[in-house]
């Protein structure tokens, strides 16, 4: 479904991605783990077309999206739904307008159908009757759920999550994990999650990949990652300050 081949990206002299290779299959959940600032979000932004790589290709169902213009890219990004780290809800719009934003651009639904769809999608994430509230009136967990409702509203078949459990308490984080699993089952979507929360990763992942120094250094099922012989992976998943990872 998505294939990332030899992806390189630098910002000035900071080499963030140095040859990332990755594959996301139909219907699977792939979790990318790694330290803060290791380039996980940069990788995700390349996949959705927000950044252009210095070198390498990204294929979505066989189509290389890296050379596409923004207009051509939007035909592909129609298939992606993304939950941003800080939710990125439009703070000048109501919750209803936020959720309907993608519907208005990616579908030709009537106004009435858009209104119904907004209600349906908010209900899918366990929220009702909040269409007229503003984002600042919601808690962190509710904002995450609205962000998810906005991401799934127009029926994408790939959902990208950028640190879904960051900034919320463990109980709400687990509720978000349950939602991620529910979305995968109900909508039959492929899911790509980036996180450094190992509890969340073990719970939702079919496969886990670790990004370190700009490359994927290990990939496997949660069980394989737990039993990895790589000392960098072991240090990260056990959250130890001592070990080969020093630049923290």
């Amino acid at each position: 479904m998505i294939r990332v081949v030899d992806l390189h990206k630098s910002f000035g002299e900071n080499k963030v991605l140095q040859g990332v290779n990755l594959r996301l299959k139909h219907g699977e959940t792939l979790v990318i783990i790694g330290q803060s600032g290791c380039g996980k979000s940069v990788l995700l932004k390349h996949i959705i077309g927000l950044l252009k790589p210095d070198r390498g290709k990204i294929f979505v169902d066989g189509v290389d999206i890296t050379p596409l213009s923004d207009d051509a890219l939007h035909k592909i990004t129609r298939r992606f739904g993304m939950l941003f780290q800080g939710t990125a809800l439009f703070d000048s719009m109501t919750i209803g307008q936020n959720v309907s934003f993608g519907l208005e651009r990616y579908t030709d639904f009537s106004k009435e159908k858009i209104r119904e769809s907004v209600k349906e999608n908010l209900a899918k994430v366990g929220l009702k009757g909040i269409e007229n509230l503003m984002p600042y009136e919601l808690s962190g967990g509710m904002k995450k759920r609205v962000g998810l409702a906005r991401a799934i509203a127009y029926g994408p078949d790939i959902i990208l999550y950028d640190e879904p459990s960051t900034g919320i308490d463990p109980i709400r984080a687990d509720a978000i994990n349950d939602l991620i699993i529910k979305m995968k089952k109900e909508l039959k979507v492929a899911t790509l999650i980036i996180t450094h929360d190992m509890v969340s990763a073990y719970k939702v992942a079919d496969r886990i990949a670790m990004l370190y120094e700009g490359k994927i250094i290990e990939m496997g099922t949660p069980e394989e990652i737990k039993n990895s012989k790589n000392p960098v992976v072991q240090q990260f998943i056990h959250g130890r300050a001592e070990g080969p990872i020093e630049n923290w």
Binding site: L50, T77, A88, S92
Partner: protein, 279 residues
């Protein structure tokens, strides 16, 4: 061409010096920023003709830029009209003699409509609206809302920049004509009601020596200033980074850069536009 120039200057960069210290850093940086603004202007122009048009934001911006700027434009235009009238009255009274003050009318009208009102409206709107644009778009940038726009199928230039640029292009001339009327009325009020200048002669001289082109050339300038304010405000917002501090810097830079560009472009336009086209 600009890219080639920048590239050639980069070849001269002494590797031993820190990035900010090598001799052509600020020179390169200046041309890079000019290039960024030029690119945004071209993208905005291209996106003018592409659908969907963001009518809701366009109408919001018309109100924000036009209606909400009325109080500040009213105050500025009235007081600049009054003070200009005061000085022209003194000038005529002192150097030409009593009775010549009626010739202040065309001078006030010409000065206001051709230069002072377009410039002051431009500077006031850049302070009020340009900085607000930079703050709003800058906050959207650092909270990933612009990335979210893109992921939801909206082109950020078409969605954010085009409605603001078109609204500024329309509303600045409207505010200027409003300012012209108020400024001239204030000049009339000072001369006729406060200083006792003959009202018939004042109006007759104004109509005799003032031309429609004087007002029109001011409106052309105002429209250009509108585009400058919107493009610089949006450009600074779109390149904001580093949290609240970055947004603060973007708003300050918008006001400074837009004001300087307006003053320079005003001189160039005054020089380029004909003094008289016979209308």
């Amino acid at each position: 061409m600009l890219g080639l120039l920048t590239w050639s200057f980069n070849l001269l960069k002494p590797e031993m010096l820190p990035k900010e210290k090598y001799p052509l850093f600020y020179f390169n940086s200046f041309f890079q920023q000019v290039g960024e603004v030029g690119l945004l202007l071209v993208q905005t122009f291209k996106n003018l003709f592409k659908k969907p048009w963001e009518k809701r934001i366009f109408i919001q911006q018309l109100e924000e830029i036009g209606v909400r700027s009325l109080p500040v434009v009213s105050l500025t235009a009235s007081f600049i009209g009054l003070v200009f009238a005061l000085q022209t009255y003194i000038g005529f009274h002192r150097y030409i003699g009593p009775g010549s003050e009626t010739f202040g009318g065309p001078i006030i009208s010409l000065g206001l409509s051709k230069e002072l009102i377009p410039i002051l409206v431009g500077l006031m709107v850049s302070g009020r609206v340009g900085s607000a644009m930079a703050a709003e778009i800058g906050t959207m940038k650092i909270t990933e809302q612009i990335d979210a726009l893109f992921s939801l199928g909206a082109d950020p230039t078409r969605y954010l920049v085009v409605p603001r640029a078109v609204a500024c292009f329309i509303m600045l001339p409207c505010l200027t004509i409003y300012g012209d009327i108020l400024g001239m009325a204030a000049g009339y009020f000072y001369n006729v009601y406060l200083m006792g200048v003959n009202s018939v002669l004042y109006i007759r001289n104004t109509l005799l020596y003032m031309e429609l082109w004087d007002v029109l050339s001011g409106l052309i300038k105002a429209a250009v200033f509108g585009v400058i304010i919107a493009i610089i405000g949006c450009w600074q917002g779109l390149r904001a980074e580093g949290g609240a501090e970055g947004v603060g810097r973007a708003t300050t830079r918008t006001v400074v850069i837009a004001s300087i560009v307006i003053l320079i472009v005003n001189f160039l336009l005054s020089k380029a536009l004909p003094a008289d086209i016979g209308i």
